[in-house]
């Protein structure tokens, strides 16, 4: 019963975390479905004829092309006020000294001299105002969010319909120069391209000078229809110096030169060419961008053509248009179909008939352009709402009605062309209303952070962390489990509420419902628990974590707020873990814990030199630590860069063997990988022989003996086939293909059946009914590493009778008079950890199969270093008998750190392009058809393998000190510091009880498991809390979408995997416990007969 409530409590805590994560995510990560539909010339956006189209002109599409060529000068972060003139007429203002004002004088001059040819607009960008999202918006006309669902995470290439795609499919030559982000967004779309690296924010000139070198020659050559020049200098200057810096003035003047008539772009334009100068976003006072503040979203938009564009003079104050308006406008002006997903509204002024300045025909032209635009948007809205449900249905309905009405009015007007201008204006207004309504609707659901939800989610996460801390302290008190009752009441109440709401027809967001359930159960729990807790302890005890560990956790917490540290987290984690290990060694030495050889887990010392000076022991501990450091350092060779930059190269060993050239190297690597597999197998078997029992006739043991080698064989054969598939002779192709399907599945199936067997019969104990103490033994070499002498090999752990008798007495009182039982059970002392290690091995093999071959070496290191860490930690954990047992914070923190370190060491990075997509095809070389959950599962298992393994293996932290006891006892001298233990075990000197001590006090055992789970959840929880806080506080940061948001997503997924793994691991321990109990019962019954 207690076990169940421990598990339930942990599940409830996990639920609190999940609710917090979900609430935060729903406020922070705005999502949108990407449609892959495309507009085409042949297919008009809606019913009705094309207004001017199909008149036989070669370049006519939905509309006649007005310009055949376009020069798009994109100046990154060109804020609107950068193009404003310096206003000296306002006295007393400091604006004169602002370095960014009045530097783009050529635009102003053009506006004054040729008012009908040029126009300046203030364009409003939609948040997130980061360059990549803005580029996406400027070409698709949509509202890109961070996660555009359905997009291909492996690359940034735009899959939606966009201007560039329309241009290339219309056969226009698009020449690009500048920021290399475009290369990722539009791979292979340009007829000619000059890309320059954009990642170095401190470099103001490389991109701009590179463009200037190519811009004029290219323009003069005439080999282009559309020329795009993306200058980055202004943006980089903003990031480096901010806008209020003389450097900004220089940069803007340089941009001015680009346009300025005598030598600049303007002189080179012809009559059929349109010049667009646009900033993709603005910048804050500090030069940052990414958020939604006014200076960030207001950018400049300047249009110019040598032929007259407008029939009215420009207004005093430049008009405000939304940034995406440019997309439909350019599309129609260039005679292209509007991209399918566009929700921008055409700038109507540009569609007036300039030559014949009749107001009526001009308005009609505007109306028809708007109508085309509205038809296209309506089509998009229809398609989108059919595919996704995140838009409000009522609003869609209203907009649909609006469009029907406007469309009817428009058709009526066309029937009677002499209609009044007023009617025309009404139609224009109606169409504009429709378009703006659609945009507002989309913005509402795609482009606005919900600060309330973000704050609520973060608060819930923080509360859950706090609860973990609190309860891990409090769990030892007896009345604890009563507090689960209010939790149940709270949950039941919320579920009831939800049911009532559902019946009354109110639809409630499941995320909000989850959060409500979390709060609704948390509050009664605290209500019930607080009086009992608060009265007992001072508040200082709220922070039970020892100082050094607290420092490490704080560093880990704080490091997630710095983008540099998140990018360099692989290195930082290794460094922290290394420091932690050496700190552990130093602490052990400092506190004199290394003096008694019992606690040092290397058996040789205890025997050989009973009077050894303590330095030997210190040296051994140091040796353990240094070996661990070496493992960590070796794992670094499999590092992957978050992004390929000149200063960071990913390890070449991450690629599959099939891609290596050179048969010899391939063979050597293959040998090494198979060697790693075999070493892993041998290590596990040796360990089991040493602690567990490989002689037991139980099915899991038989499976370990025979199934594991089979799995190794299958894996090795699969790798051989996969790496050499191309070289197979044609006759064997079919066989190879079949084998590469069957083998991975077979390995996975074997592992699954092994786990099933283990769950079915988890007790791996050999029972022998002999007289007296059994001394039959096998001589073994111990598991990897520490050398031992023969005399030390006293690892057979016969279970003594005392336990039987206790069990006996508990259950069958009449057995009191019975003498010593003549039953010896081998290896009962390690029954829990043997099951854990077996389960971990079964899980590791299929996970290993999902990785590239050479990662198997890392898996070997993983097992080795967790073994060493457990040994090191066990030295510092005192075994208190009869309890309470505790796992110290440093053990849990080091374990969690190592999980993160292994995540990086297996070639992962928390960015989407770094995901190992190949894992989806292991065992499914032909792909998965339409199913998505299976590839997602495979890729997820690959990505979070280390989280899973370490979380499942978490109970080992509790069990290991008991294992190490076996080596200490029998060769004990009475250490000074251990009187307590010596007092408790005077009579049982000869046989260590090991993990049976846990069984001796089931209450303490359960409490220890609960504490362990809570501590691990706390350590993971503060990481996810830090990620959430950093993402919300730094939501204006330049790197939020590149660094913080992906980190948050990976951390959240990792947390979910880890928490599930943790619960599974604890459940496994409990299952073993139950099985051991029933085994005892059977034994006792058998004895009676």
């Amino acid at each position: 019963m207690q076990k169940i409530s421990v598990l339930l409590f942990l599940v409830w805590i996990c639920f609190l975390f999940y609710a917090g994560i979900a609430l935060f995510t729903s406020g922070f990560l705005l999502t949108r479905l990407e449609l892959t539909n495309h507009s085409s010339c042949q297919e008009p956006p809606g019913p009705g004829f094309l207004p001017w189209g199909s008149q036989g002109e070669p370049r006519a599409c939905w509309m006649d092309s007005r310009f055949s060529r376009l020069v798009l000068v994109l100046i990154d972060a060109l804020r609107f006020d950068f193009v404003q003139p310096q206003r000296s007429n306002v006295p007393g203002e400091t604006s004169v000294s602002l370095p960014f004002l009045g530097k783009l004088g050529s635009l102003q001059r053009i506006l004054e001299i040729q008012p009908h040819h040029a126009r300046l607009y203030q364009s409003k960008a939609d948040p997130p105002t980061t360059t990549m999202q803005r580029l996406k918006a400027l070409t698709t006309g949509s509202l890109p969010t961070f996660i555009d669902a359905g997009s291909n995470f492996a690359s940034y290439a735009i899959v939606e319909d966009n201007l560039i795609k329309q241009l290339t499919s219309a056969g226009r030559r698009v020449v690009f120069m500048g920021d290399d982000t475009w290369k990722d967004l539009f791979p292979g779309a340009f007829s000619q391209a000059f890309f320059f690296p954009s990642f170095n924010v401190r470099d103001l000139h490389t991109v701009d000078n590179g463009i200037l070198e190519h811009l004029y020659p290219t323009m003069d050559s005439g080999e282009w229809d559309v020329l795009i020049a993306h200058f980055l200098g202004v943006d980089h200057c903003g990031h480096k110096h901010g806008p209020h810096h003389p450097e900004m003035a220089k940069k803007l003047s340089q941009m001015d030169q680009v346009i300025q008539p005598p030598r600049g772009v303007v002189e080179r334009l012809e009559n059929d060419t349109l010049l667009v100068v646009i900033g993709d976003h603005g910048m804050t006072k500090n030069g940052d961008h990414g958020g939604d503040s006014e200076p960030e979203i207001s950018a400049a938009l300047f249009l110019y053509s040598p032929s007259a564009l407008f029939h009215k003079a420009p207004p005093e104050e430049p008009e405000v248009v939304s940034q995406v308006s440019l997309v439909p406008t350019l599309a129609l002006l260039l005679g292209l179909p509007i991209p399918f997903g566009n929700i921008g509204e055409v700038i109507v002024e540009l569609f007036s008939e300039v030559e014949d300045s009749q107001p009526h025909s001009s308005a009609l032209a505007q109306a028809s352009a708007l109508y085309l635009n509205a038809q296209q948007v309506s089509r998009f809205l229809h398609t989108y709402s059919a595919a996704a449900q995140d838009l409000q249905v009522t609003e869609i309905h209203r907009l649909h009605n609006l469009f029907s009405k406007a469309s009817a009015d428009y058709q009526r007007l066309l029937q009677s062309p002499q209609g009044a201008e007023a009617a025309l204006q009404t139609v224009i207004t109606e169409l504009q209303q429709f378009l703006r309504g659609v945009r507002a609707l989309c913005i509402e659901s795609w482009a606005r952070f919900s600060l309330v939800r973000m704050a609520g989610g973060a608060a819930l996460l923080a509360a859950a962390c706090f609860l973990c801390l609190l309860v891990s302290q409090w769990a030892t008190s007896p009345g604890f489990y009563l507090c689960l009752v209010p939790v149940a009441w709270g949950l039941a109440g919320v579920i009831l509420c939800a049911g009532l709401l559902a019946i009354t027809g109110l639809k409630l967001d499941p995320v909000v419902l989850g959060a409500m359930a979390a709060v609704g159960s948390l509050v009664p729990f605290l209500w019930k628990a607080w009086p009992g807790w608060g009265s007992k302890r001072p508040l200082a005890a709220l922070l039970p974590i020892p100082g050094p560990v607290l420092l490490f956790l704080f560093i880990r917490f704080a490091a997630l707020f710095s983008d540099s540290f998140v990018v360099a987290e692989a290195r930082a984690t290794r460094f922290l873990l290394g420091s932690f290990i050496l700190l552990l060694v130093a602490q052990l030495h400092w506190e004199g814990k290394l003096l008694p050889p019992k606690l040092l887990t290397i058996p040789r010392l205890g025997f050989s030199t009973p009077t050894a000076p303590p330095r030997h022991n210190s040296m051994q501990a140091l040796w353990l630590g240094v070996t661990l450091l070496l493992c960590i350092r070796l794992a670094e060779f499999f590092h992957r860069c978050p992004e390929e930059t000149p200063v960071c190269h990913s390890s070449p060993w991450l690629s599959p063997l099939a891609s290596t050239v050179g048969g010899r190297a391939k063979n050597l690597w293959y040998g090494a990988c198979v060697g790693a597999l075999v070493a892993l197998l041998v290590a596990v078997r040796l360990w089991l022989r040493r602690y567990g029992n490989l002689k037991s006739p139980e099915p899991p043991v038989l499976f370990v003996r025979w199934g594991l080698p089979l799995m190794v064989l299958g894996t090795a054969a699969y790798w051989a086939l996969a790496s050499g598939a191309d070289e197979a002779p044609p006759r064997l192709r079919a066989l190879v293909a079949g084998a590469s399907v069957v083998l991975p599945r077979a390995v996975a199936g074997l592992a699954a059946s092994g786990l099933m067997l283990l769950l079915w019969r988890p007790v791996t104990v050999l029972v022998k009914a002999t007289m007296g103490t059994p001394r039959t033994r096998t001589v073994l070499t111990p598991f990897s590493g520490p050398p031992t002498s023969q005399a030390d090999l006293d690892y057979v752990v016969p279970q003594i009778y005392r336990h039987m008798q206790e069990e006996f007495r508990d259950r069958l009182e009449r057995n009191k008079s019975q003498g010593p039982l003549t039953v010896a059970a081998y290896k009962l002392g390690s029954v829990y950890s043997a099951a854990m290690v077996t389960a971990l091995t079964f899980m590791a093999f299929p996970l290993l199969l999902l990785h590239a071959e050479r990662i198997s070496l890392v898996f070997l290191l993983l097992f080795l270093q967790s073994f060493l860490l457990l040994h090191l930690l066990a030295a510092g954990i005192p075994i208190t008998i009869p309890g309470p047992f505790t796992v110290p914070w440093q053990a849990v923190s080091a374990w969690a750190l190592m999980a993160t370190q292994t995540f990086y060491a297996t070639g992962h990075q928390p960015v989407f392009p770094a995901i190992h997509w190949n894992a989806a095809f292991v065992g499914f070389p032909e792909g998965h058809g339409s199913s998505t959950w299976l590839p997602a599962l495979l890729v997820g298992a690959n990505t979070f393998a280390s989280h899973l393994l370490f979380a499942v293996g978490c109970p080992l932290l509790l069990l290991w000190p008991f294992l190490c006891e076996s080596q200490g006892s029998g060769k004990r001298r009475q250490p000074a510091g251990n009187e307590a233990e010596a007092r408790v075990r005077p009579e049982e000197e000869e046989e260590p009880l090991m993990e049976m001590r846990l069984r001796d006090s089931p209450h303490h055992f359960n409490t220890a498991l609960l504490q362990l789970g809570l501590k691990y959840l706390f350590v993971l929880g503060i990481q996810i809390l830090a990620c959430a806080l950093s993402a919300s506080i730094l939501r204006r940061h330049l790197m939020v979408w590149k660094v913080f948001a992906p980190k948050f997503i990976f951390e959240a997924m990792g947390f979910i995997v880890s928490s599930v793994g943790l619960c599974l691991g604890l459940a496994l321990v409990m299952r073993v416990d139950g099985a051991v109990s029933s085994w005892f019962r059977q034994l006792v019954l058998a004895q009676q007969r």
């Binding site: 540290f565 004199g592 350092r633």
Partner: protein, 219 residues
Amino acid sequence: MKDTDIKRLLYAHLLCIFSIILSIFVPSFFLENFSILDTHLTWLCICSVFVTAGNLVLYLIVKPNASSKRSSLSYKVTRFLKCCIYFLMSCFFFHVIFVLYGAPLIELVLETFLFAVTLSAFTTVPCLCLLGPNIKAWLRVFSRNGLTSIWENSLQITTISSFIGTWLGAFPIPLDWERPWQAWPISCTLGATFGYVAGLVISPLWIYWNRKQLTYKNN
């Protein structure tokens, strides 16, 4: 323990700090273009030499540990040679630890090694001066309740603060500030130096403030 002892300790530490200051300013008289950041390796060499010399001078003047019973020349020579070997070993040991902590393996070997030498000068040399080539005594000093004099206490504090300084010095390396001192191993050496100096300053003060509570086994 008397106040005079603490005073002597303070003067000794001031001498050590002075040697570090000298290592910063003296070379610029003899070498052109000398600065800590640009010619970092030179400074590392000079600093180690100065600190070592300062410690040796202190050792000869103050003689903090009781004079050994044997004072034959051969004993002194072997002792000196042992000290040299220990010093070299500690340099190599630190080098290995740095590499294990993530320092580049092949590139910048000289920098890493000189850094190890400097850290050895800050930590191992005082240990050797005070305790001699006796690992047992070292281990005793660096464990709880193992101190026997204020000299050992100050040695403990300065050594630990040097290590902490080195450790903290590694933190700015990943940041994207693009400062010259963020390059390996400059920030770490600077951290070690600051830690050492801080330890030198703190330890007399700390001992002075806690002089009532401090009791040493032998005194």
